[in-house]
Structure formats: structure tokens, C-alpha cells
């Protein structure tokens, strides 16, 4: 809450606080000035007290309205974020639809010229791309699908082979989409950052979405190695191997969100397997559903 909202709320509230103090003092002065319990013999003081009785509730109403406005503004910010991701999803689907026509034309041309092998090869590549998009869309959380599409686009720009395997649609996963996105986006960004300095042929990131009888699992794998002393501290707030003022918050925040939702995050690392982050969320039992 380190933004202007708090100051906007504190100003009228602080003023109300001061006026109440003044009101208490005025009432006591009125009592000292007059001998009778309640009298209009001190009209100025009495008028001031009446004014304060009107002003203070007005300030309280103002405080409440400022709070409501701030709340609306923050809700709008979150909605904007959702809309941005959903627009990305629509854009990606449009692009694919547009490209599909071109692909059909290429396949048609190849077949007309008798280059059936080339056509088959082309269709196989195309089918792989469509499967990935289909897998993304099969996730039952539209915000996550949108994020994966956006990250696929980013991976393409960075020449990273981004492979997505979806074995579960995550239906029944009880976590706020925003929190899930925060977890996945942070882990993917870290993986992309880790591989972008590698040679193009080994620049790959694999995301696996799966479920077991008791857990929903998200696994992110990339080549590389993290020494044990860093692995021990990697989820600590403020700890980072990279330089920069705002470094070292991502994984700590991820861990916090995962644990808040009753999940776990583990890091496996070996020189052969690479770096594997696994996030697991327990499935709700039947009685909880």
C-alpha cells in the first residue's frame, strides 16, 4: 500500500482527527465557561461545535469515498491486466488463422508441383505448431493460455525452443489466476533469461503441465547448472546472482504465493538433466469441492 492511496485517505481522516480533538476541547471549554449543563450563552463556541458536528461526518464520508475510488481504480488496473492478456490470446489466434490460409496455399502449391515429400514435411512442421497452440488452449485457465501464447511469442523472438506439454487442463485447481500467472511468468522469465546466453542449438525451455492423483504439477526445465551454495539460498528474499536493485524478489515471491495456496516448489539440478523447477498444488478433496 505504498502508493498515493494511503495519503489520500490519511489527509481527510487526519483532518477529522484534528477536528474531533478540537470538538472535545471546545465541549470542555463550553462546560467550563457556563455553569448550567447546556446553554446557548456562548453562541460562538456553540456554533463552532455544531459546525464541527457537521464537518466531521462529512470528512468521514469523504474518506470513505476516496477509499471507494481507490478500490475502483485498483480493480480497473487488474481488469486491464486481464484484458491485455486476453487481447494477446485473441491476437495470437487471429495471426494463426491468417497464417493458416498461407500455409494451405503453400501446401497446395507444393502438391500441384508434385513435391509431395516437401508437402508432407511442411504439414508435419505445421501440425507440431498447431499441437502446441492446441495444448495451450486446452488448459482450463484462459489467463494461463494467454500467458503461454505471449511467452511462446517471446521465446520465438529470443530464438529459444519453447516446448509445452499439457497433460492436464488444471480443471479444479483452486488458485487465483493472477497468482498462477505470477508463478508461471516468473519461472518462465527466469528460464528464458538463463538460456538466452547459450548457443542457439541448446537454447530450450520445457514446460510440462500435469497432474497426479493428489497434485497438479507445473514443471519448468532448462539447460544449465546452479551450484549448491546458490541453490540453498535461491528462494531467499533479496538473494540474486544477478546485479540490479530490484533483483532477488521473483523466486521469493513465487515461493510465498505457492505456499500461500498450500503448494510446494522444488528445485532439482544436475549437470545432465539441467535445472528443473517443480510446482505442486494439492488437489482439493471431494469434501472441499
Amino acid at each position: 500500500m505504498k502508493d498515493r492511496t494511503i495519503f489520500n485517505i490519511i489527509i481527510p481522516l487526519g483532518l477529522a482527527f484534528l477536528l474531533v480533538s478540537l470538538l472535545v476541547l471546545s465541549s470542555l471549554n463550553l462546560h467550563n465557561l457556563i455553569s448550567s449543563p447546556l446553554s446557548l450563552s456562548e453562541p460562538v463556541l456553540f456554533a463552532m461545535i455544531i459546525m464541527l458536528f457537521i464537518t466531521i461526518p462529512v470528512l468521514l464520508i469523504l474518506t470513505k469515498n476516496i477509499y471507494l475510488l481507490s478500490k475502483q481504480q485498483k480493480t480497473l488496473e487488474i481488469q486491464d491486466f486481464y484484458i491485455e492478456h486476453l487481447s494477446e490470446l485473441v491476437r495470437a489466434i487471429r495471426v494463426q488463422r491468417h497464417d493458416f490460409v498461407n500455409h494451405m496455399q503453400v501446401v497446395c502449391a507444393l502438391m500441384k508441383t508434385g513435391k509431395f515429400d516437401k508437402a508432407m514435411e511442411y504439414i508435419a512442421d505445421l501440425s507440431h505448431d498447431i499441437q502446441i497452440t492446441g495444448a495451450m488452449l486446452s488448459v482450463d485457465i484462459p489467463e494461463l493460455s494467454a500467458l503461454l501464447l505471449a511467452k511462446t511469442d517471446l521465446a520465438r523472438k529470443k530464438e529459444i525452443l519453447f516446448k509445452i506439454t499439457v497433460e492436464s487442463n488444471l480443471k479444479g485447481l483452486e488458485i487465483k489466476p493472477l497468482e498462477l500467472i505470477m508463478v508461471v511468468a516468473n519461472l518462465l522469465d527466469n528460464a528464458f533469461e538463463a538460456v538466452e546466453s547459450l548457443p542457439v542449438d541448446i537454447r530450450s525451455v520445457v514446460l510440462k503441465v500435469a497432474e497426479t492423483a493428489e497434485y497438479y504439477c507445473l514443471q519448468i526445465k532448462n539447460p544449465g547448472y546452479i551450484p549448491e551454495e546458490i541453490r540453498m539460498r535461491i528462494f531467499e528474499m533479496g538473494y540474486s546472482t544477478k546485479e540490479g536493485k530490484e533483483r532477488g524478489t521473483g523466486l521469493a515471491a513465487v515461493k510465498s504465493v505457492v505456499e500461500k495456496n498450500g503448494g510446494t516448489i522444488t528445485l532439482q539440478c544436475s549437470r545432465d538433466q539441467g535445472i528443473i523447477f517443480t510446482v505442486s498444488f494439492p488437489k482439493p478433496s471431494n469434501s472441499e469441492r
Binding site: 485517505i9 449543563p37 466531521i56 461526518p57 470513505k64
Partner: protein
Amino acid sequence: MVFDKNILPLILFQYLPETTIFTALSMLLAGYKIRLKQVVIIGIIGALFAAVVKSQQPMPIVSTLIMVFILIILFVIISKLDVISASIAVFLGFVVLGLVEVANYFVVTGVTGITVQQAMEDLTLRLLFPLPEYILLTVLILVCQKYNFTLINLKELKELSKKDYER
């Protein structure tokens, strides 16, 4: 430190209910759930501090300001609120309590003809004087709780401000 000779009844029947009601009201108006255990602990510690502060006989508003400061600290320690949230909650409680207290003062003196001076000199009157205020505030707390009324929901505002969805 010289305590009032009637310090025990004052703590039990004035400072304790006042601090407890104040705590509950502050929590409720700031959007926090009332936890009876916390409210009672803050009420008891606050009442003891109130007795100590009032034994020093400072100016009326000075004792109130000292109590506001102490209550902010108690909210931070016992209710685990951050300083800003605790301050806002205490300010809200103070504003509403102050309004009702002054209104009570005018109504009681107007209706009964008893002055504050008279009430301060007699223990029974002193204990009975703020009773309408306590009853009104308790009813207010119960009504607010029943209809989930809050002036500011700090908890909700904090959740919305987290921006966990952004990197």
C-alpha cells in the same frame, strides 16, 4: 504516581469497556475481523495504560493523544497490523468515539441536568455518565458487524495493491 482512590472500579467499569469498545470499533471500521481474544487483550492492557496516564492528570486532550499512540503500538504488537493500518484504524475509532462521546456529553447533561463536574465528584455518577455512550457504541458495533459495514476495508485495499499479477 498518584492513583485515584477509586482506581479499581474505574479500570473495571470505565477504562476497560471504553478501550475494548474502542478497539472493536476501530478494527471493524477499518475492515478487520474482530477477534475477541485480541480485543480483550488490547482492552485490558489499554485500560491499565489509561489508568497510568490519567493518574498523571495531564490536559484532557493530551491524555487522549497519549492513549491514541499507545493503542497504535498495541494494535501493531497484538493484532500484527502494520503501523499505517494501525494508525488509520485507531484514527477511525477515535473520530467516531469522539463524536459519540461529545454527543453523549451534551445529551446526558441536557437531559439529566448533571454537570461533568458533579459526575466527576461522585463515583456512581462517574461510572454511569458514559453508559449511554457505551450502549450506543456496542449497538453500533453489532449492527456494523451484522451488515458487514466498514468505512475503509484496509485488508481488501492491501490485497488489491499487491500487484502479484505483475512481475
